[in-house]
Every structure is written in structure tokens, then in C-alpha cells.
Symmetry: C2
């Protein structure tokens, strides 16, 4: 498989796929979600089952004339979420997406002990993919949205999700930078100690084919010149595919700085459940929601 280097290539890849993924959407009652779904249907990259208030759903002109659209009419948002989750469990759908229901509420349905879809021992975590104008490949990030201050155990799972995502995009040996504000390992900063563990695990082969290095500062993961000026050696050599952040604040601020000031586009998913979950938030653009659907189709 050729490496997917931008979102256009991602969409083309999905259009040429033999089978289409089936998405279960909870509460597609907001125009942003609906526009993204409409676009995904037009591009023919996914089939949809919509769980929610049928009247609200059909009030969107793009849905009104679709006779073959699968709608499961449920007025209550939480019940709609539970039904969408059940569709995943019953293998009637491959991917879960939230519409205008709160993220907390859909997560509750996913985490439900009896009816949920979180395999035992798994942790839910967010993986983000960013396309930055002028940068010649996509950037993969964890975790900008779900786990505030990961433990080492959580970081191990987060790393697995991140690497799985990179590999789905065709990157055989992902290069991941463990980001900190300095290169120094210091017991005062638990993440810098955890980074050493992750590096050692990678060298012991526990993550498969991958290069993991850190602590590194964000820039030296991607900028060979900055690496050289600092006089640092890294097996990533300024050619990073992705990053693990120290904490949720740094991840969140980084992607927001990139989307606003570097005009980056992004896609994101919650991983760890039986299927990828699209949880794009109100603040995300229609493009971003569409790319998140596409990302989910690739991984689902």
C-alpha cells in the first residue's frame, strides 16, 4: 500500500476500495454533522444508519429525498446512542459517530457494562491526524482530547492506537516523537520517565516495527535543522510521523495553534472501543468532520 500523505489521497483511496464501511450515527440533528454525512454519501465512501428523531433528520433537505436512507426513529438522545452502540455490537455497522449528542453521553453508552462496546482492559483515547499546508505528509497525534494525564499503562495503549493508525495510512515503520519541553529526562517530570520505558519497550520489539524516541521538543521531531542546531542525535532525524504529548493541554493547544495559525485541517477519532468512534465537536469544521468519517472508514 502506498503511503497516504494528505486527506485528498485518503478520500481517493476509500473511493477505490471494494467495500464500503457502514456507519451508525447517533443524533444527526445538527447541520455540521449532516453536511459531513451528506458529503461522505456523495463521495460514496460510506453507508449510513441514522439513529435519532426522524422528523429532525428529514428536515434537512439533503436527506428528505433519499428514499433508501436507513433511519431508526428514536426521539430520546440517550436511547438513540444506545441503539447505535447496539448496532456496532450486533455487527450491523462498522463505525460509530456522534451527532448533536454530548460526547459524555455517547461515551456513557460505549462504556455501559452490560450493553457497551469497550473490550475488557482497553482504554479509550483520541488519535488526531493533521494535514498542514507546506508539510509533505500527515502528522499523527495522541492524545489531544480524552486522557488528561496518562499513566504509563495508558501510554502503552495510546501508543498502540497511534501506531495502528499510522500503519493504516500505509506507514510501515512509524517514527514517533515523545514530546517534552526539553530533551532531558528528569524524575520531576513523570512523563519523561515514562518516555524512557516506551523507548525501551519499542527497542524490545513490543510495538512491532516502529521508531520511538524522546524526550524531544516538538520542533526537533519534524525539523532536522533544529535537531542539528541543538546538536542532538535522534533515530527520527527530524522526519517524524507522529507525536505523543505530555498531557492533554499541550496536545489541545498544539492542534488549535496548527489549525488556526498554520491553516491545518484535521481528522480525529476515539479509539479503544470495538470500532473507531467519530466524536468531532461543535468547533470542528465540516471538512474536519468529513475527514474524521474518512479516517474512521480507513480504520474501521
Amino acid at each position: 500500500m502506498e503511503i497516504i500523505r494528505n486527506f485528498k489521497q485518503l478520500v481517493n483511496h476509500l473511493k477505490n476500495a471494494d467495500t464500503k464501511k457502514r456507519m451508525a450515527v447517533a443524533c444527526p440533528h445538527d447541520s455540521h454533522s449532516v453536511e459531513a454525512i451528506e458529503r461522505a454519501m456523495k463521495e460514496g465512501i460510506a453507508d449510513f444508519i441514522l439513529f435519532g428523531d426522524k422528523d429532525k433528520i428529514l428536515s434537512f433537505p439533503c436527506f428528505a429525498d433519499k428514499a433508501d436512507l436507513k433511519i431508526v426513529d428514536i426521539k430520546d438522545n440517550d436511547e438513540a446512542a444506545a441503539a447505535a452502540v447496539k448496532a456496532i455490537k450486533d455487527k450491523e455497522a462498522d463505525i460509530l459517530m456522534k451527532g448533536s449528542i454530548n460526547t459524555d453521553n455517547i461515551l456513557r453508552a460505549i462504556l455501559n457494562k452490560e450493553h457497551g462496546i469497550l473490550p475488557k482492559g482497553n482504554v479509550l483515547s483520541h488519535v488526531t491526524v493533521v494535514e498542514i499546508p507546506g508539510h509533505d505528509k500527515l502528522m499523527f497525534m495522541t492524545d489531544v482530547a480524552v486522557i488528561p494525564y496518562p499513566t504509563l499503562e495508558q501510554r502503552v495503549q495510546m501508543m498502540k492506537y497511534l501506531l495502528a493508525t499510522c500503519r493504516s495510512f500505509g506507514i510501515e515503520c512509524p517514527k514517533i516523537g515523545l514530546v517534552h519541553f526539553t530533551e532531558k529526562v528528569n524524575p520531576k517530570f513523570q512523563n519523561s520517565l515514562d518516555y524512557v520505558e516506551l523507548k525501551n519497550m519499542c527497542e524490545a520489539g513490543e510495538f512491532g516495527k516502529a521508531i520511538i524516541d524522546g524526550p524531544l521538543d516538538f520542533r526537533t521531531v519534524f525539523d532536522k535543522e533544529a535537531l542539528d542546531i541543538k546538536g542532538i542525535k535522534s533515530p527520527i532525524d527530524g522526519d517524524g510521523d507522529g507525536v505523543m504529548f505530555p498531557n492533554i493541554e499541550s496536545g489541545n493547544i498544539c492542534y488549535k495553534a496548527l489549525t488556526y495559525f498554520a491553516k491545518a485541517e484535521l481528522a480525529g477519532l476515539v479509539m479503544g472501543a470495538m470500532c473507531p468512534v467519530v466524536v468531532a465537536s461543535r468547533g470542528d469544521s465540516v471538512d474536519s468532520k468529513f475527514y474524521s468519517i474518512a479516517m474512521a472508514c480507513l480504520l474501521g
Copy 2:
């Protein structure tokens, strides 16, 4: 005073100033520092006293032919730093700058109980100014480099330095966003509680004329559209001048993302001592070191 909106305006402002500031530089033995000093001399924005190894200093061609250059010949780096600090204490210079000496070593000279220049009760903290292509004004940040996890007491001082910097650039009523990964105040996140205190203090007039709001996500401080989409009201209204970060990781990663991927230029200073201190690091460009000198001249 007109607001200084970019570094070019900053340099022009200094060129038109009646008096030049005097900078004491410890160990200007590296080409990056020397190039920045050379440029500051050419532009005529500052006078210099160089503390360090005279042979090393004069080995740079740009210094070799300067008969009127003030050099204090001290071979030992730490002694040179101490002498530069003494020059500040004795009011022979207005600004301190480090060359190729480690930041820790110059800080030690500043913090020295007997001979140092830290007023009692003050805290040292870093203020960064960023010029981002396409953004119509400068962005002011604290703290991307010195205090890892500020206490409320430290945040109060950091806010004062940040506001003083904004005001030196001609912003009468600075608008500062207290950045978090969400708008929600949550006792799990101490910074979000501290933010409420800072807001209250601002409303009580303790910071002078200023607008301080948060927790806000980074983007909504600068992007009115993102603010509106989220349905949030903020007195900053997407027109922020500056930000306070939750922690050093998020600040450091943010400015590195902006400099590399949004082609931003930056200047930075350590504040809190008797004078501004230029501590630009190896990784910073000559431009960045020069703009840091200029920023110090404005504040010194």
C-alpha cells in the same frame, strides 16, 4: 504611543528613540549571539559592554575593527556572568544578555543572594512575543520556558510581567486569555481554579486596565468565529493580545508549532530581575535573538 504590531515597527520605534539602552553581555563567544549583537549595533538600537574572553570575542571579524567596543576580558564564564550582573547592579548597563554560557549558570549569577539582581519576593519568569504571518498583531505569551507548573502566587506575578510587556508595546488595555483545553472550571485542574482567581483579581482592578478571561481554549482567544460556533461569550471576543498557558509543556509546544509550521518569528525575555534578561537559546534563529534584544531595549 501607537501600538507596535510587528517586529519591524519595534525596530523602527527603537531607532527613533532619544536614548540607546546599554546591554551587558556575558560570554558572546558563539556566532549566533555575535550576529545578533552585530545587527543591533548596525541598526543602532543599543550599546554593548561585552564580558568574556577577549581573544574569542575579537576572533569575530565584525568585532575586530571596532576600536570603541567595550570589552571586559574575563576568561572564566561564571566570572564573566557575575561581572555582567554587577554592571546591572551598578547601573552601568540596563539589560543583561547571555551568550554561550548555560542558562542555568547565568540564572545562578542573577539569583546570587549577595551579588544577584533579583528583588526580594520577585519570581523569574519568561515572556515571549510572537509575530505570526497573516495575524495582524503580535501575540504575547507566558511562560514557555522557565516555570513548569506555576502556583497562583507565581501566576499573579507572571500576569504582571505579561501585562507590563503588552503595555510597553503600546497596548493600553491588554486582552489576555487564560488557556485550558476546555472552557469548564473543574477542581481536578488546579489551573482552571487559579484562572477564576486571576479573573476576579482583574475585575477588582488589581492588574490595572486589562481584560482577563478564561478558561478558554487557545483558538477561541484569537478566533471570533470559533468562539461563536462554540456559543461562548468572552469579553476578549476573539481579539486576544496574549495568553497564559496551563503549564510549560503546552507553552513550549505551542511556540514551537507556531515557529516551525506557521513560520512565526519570536522574541523572548526572562523578567522579574532588576532588568530584562535575554536568554535566547541555541535553537533560536539570529532573527529571534535580534528581536529579543530589541524587545529588551523597549522594556529595559
